[in-house]
Symmetry: C2
Subunit: 146 residues, 2 copies
Amino acid sequence: MRQLEAALKAAGDRSRTRILKLIETRDLCVCQIQAVLGLAPSTVSKHLSVLRSSGLVEDRREGRWIHYGIASSGENPYADGVLALVRGALDRDPKILEDRRRLQEVLRTPLAELCAVMPVQSVSVPSASRRGRGARKAGRRDRAHA
Amino acid sequence: MRQLEAALKAAGDRSRTRILKLIETRDLCVCQIQAVLGLAPSTVSKHLSVLRSSGLVEDRREGRWIHYGIASSGENPYADGVLALVRGALDRDPKILEDRRRLQEVLRTPLAELCAVMPVQSVSVPSASRRGRGARKAGRRDRAHA
DNA sequence: CCGCAATTTCGTCAGATGGCGAAATGGTAG
DNA sequence: CTACCATTTCGCCATCTGACGAAATTGCGG
């Protein structure tokens, strides 16, 4: 019962549903997800943690980034059902479509630049020299220039 | 998106899942559900309202009682999926089995007596005269003796 | 080893949620 | 029409949740 409840609760949140729809076709690194959602890194991390502990997603370390993808471990017996439900849904939802469009932009930027710049509306790095402190939207590292 | 979220949220609560499992084989009146769950009438009513507005259940008036059953109206396009998921789950869950056992007891009592007595542990009316004020557990009508 | 930078954890805050009892509602039966 | 009683609504409280920023952690690259 706990597991069904966890899976349903995990999927039953707007931000987490968006995450699930984002990673349903390919694994994504946290900073990519964050760039698309436009939420604070800590918030995204929390959501991913909820999704992970409910068995809906898995993390896989790739070099210096952590990629998240749909779970395949079958740790939660209800995960498949919930994931199937979500997978078959929302493919015409405006918000989801917008996220996908945004993802396309994000995917054009190499990880190394993306994470440092955190472009939320305009992904094109404004050529602000090397990894500029010009365009970040979701703060952090704001004291790094001191 | 709102509808998927609503359906998942509605089903992703312990008490509401129990309700869904209870009415999945036959419609039940509110007081029957309340007797099995052991929650206050107002609480059960709230849960039913959430389930109803998410399109998972429907109410049907039957004489002086209101029966709730699994929705068939297709008002929420995701309801069927969520309901199927729940229907196929928890059939071995201890709490659910206990609820079912409890339901068997409750079903033995005619509605007219059940609602007035509200037996939560022992369904057998302790022959406390006519619709006694002896066994109720989930209060209300406590000031009726004044 | 050191430092950097991606990610997570912690602390906090506002708003949502689940539970209850009391009071309102509304349909049935007299 | 009235009274009754199943159900709902309302107001309240405790707890949970989602969001943030700041600080801790962790793993690569030097």
